[in-house]
Amino acid sequence: MKGQLQDMAVADIIQHNCQDRKTARVSIKNSGQKAQLFFKNGNVVHATSDGLEGEQVIFHVMHWETGSFDLKSDVEPPAFTITRSWTSLLLEGARLLDEADSGDEVDKYISTLLSGSNKNGKAVSSPHLTTRLHQTINAPVESRVTVNGEAPGDRSTEELLVDLADQTEGFITAAVATLKGDKYYVHSTWDLDVTPLINQVNQFVKMVNVAVEKLGQGELEDNLLTTEEAFVLVRFLKKSDYYLMITVDKKQANLGSLRMLSRSYAEWLGKALDHQSKDKEQV
């Protein structure tokens, strides 16, 4: 089996192999870097990458968001360097990534990644990797998202929805609508009966709003519905009556990327709608 990390994250690959109790080797490539993960009867038992081996490799490759992977079944591991359960391994990897996201913890994260020893017991250091990780982790969210290679400028709501579709892996539908349902814009790759759908989504979003109010734990930021086939993300546009709904194919989507895109596009769509309403007032 071959695939792209954009379609299936490293954590998902590990989970898939372990839950299926596979014995296999997964080779992963990312920007000139390579790693191999070995599974034995549903456990990750060995991993190597550029002189590193063991758990550090797993924590390292969990950061890779792009690249390719190649799975070969029934390949026996050449060594056993990982004893921790795969769930515990993923939890620790997620924790490290989360700490890294807090910014202040970047150095700690990188030193954790690089603190492993190679086979000879010598400390492993990679200035190139350090620089790359710094650049990636410290980059502001918006700079990691490009809209056809240029700033959104004065694009219309419709144009932004088309851009969003182009940017989103596994895109199905994007809609911008008011809770009243009196105004909406929809861009979809599916043939949908739009009006009843918007009415139903409106009811859903209204009820989420009420539920959050009753919960008394802060203001609603977004809502992510996960079904067997898809993710449906809803986010309100700032200073606006509109919300943005994006539906994507679960098998192809990258959830982290989807949430980042939704934040950026919610802001840009809010500005576009604001401009449009001002233009109408002037007319």
Binding site: A11, L91, Q200, V210, N223, V232
Partner: protein, 124 residues
């Protein structure tokens, strides 16, 4: 609340530590079967009733768009995360509220680990 459910909730609280806000196992008629909270202003009856409506409407939206059964709904506020996940045959869902500081991936993995155990301990 039976002792197994009480034990599960204690384990969940221990695993989440300070990130735990509240949890409830709620039947689709909107009634909480069991739960616990770490915050004073969490009204389990009201929250259960409203989030049940959210789950019912989510199911309708998913059906309308032909997206398959609903697995989970996640509400993010500026201070908290609220997971609602169907259990077993879908007659009950698990609501888990955490601080916004909680790591989404970790909470989801934790829920994966506990959901079968919870379903087994619920009265059927």
């Amino acid at each position: 609340m039976n002792s197994e459910l009480a034990s599960i909730i204690k384990d969940i609280r221990d695993d989440l530590g300070d990130d735990f806000l509240a949890t409830d196992f709620i039947s689709m008629d909107g009634m909480s079967v069991a739960g616990e909270k770490a915050i004073e202003n969490f009204n389990s009856d009201i929250v259960s009733a409203h989030f049940t409506m959210v789950m019912k409407l989510a199911t309708k939206v998913s059906k309308n768009m032909d997206l398959g059964n609903v697995n989970e709904n996640l509400v993010s506020t500026d201070t908290s995360l609220v997971f609602s996940r169907f259990l077993g045959d879908g007659s009950v869902y698990w609501l888990l509220a955490t601080n916004k500081d909680a790591t989404l991936g970790i909470v989801r993995t934790l829920m994966d680990e506990y959901e079968l155990r919870i379903w087994g301990a619920l009265p059927h």
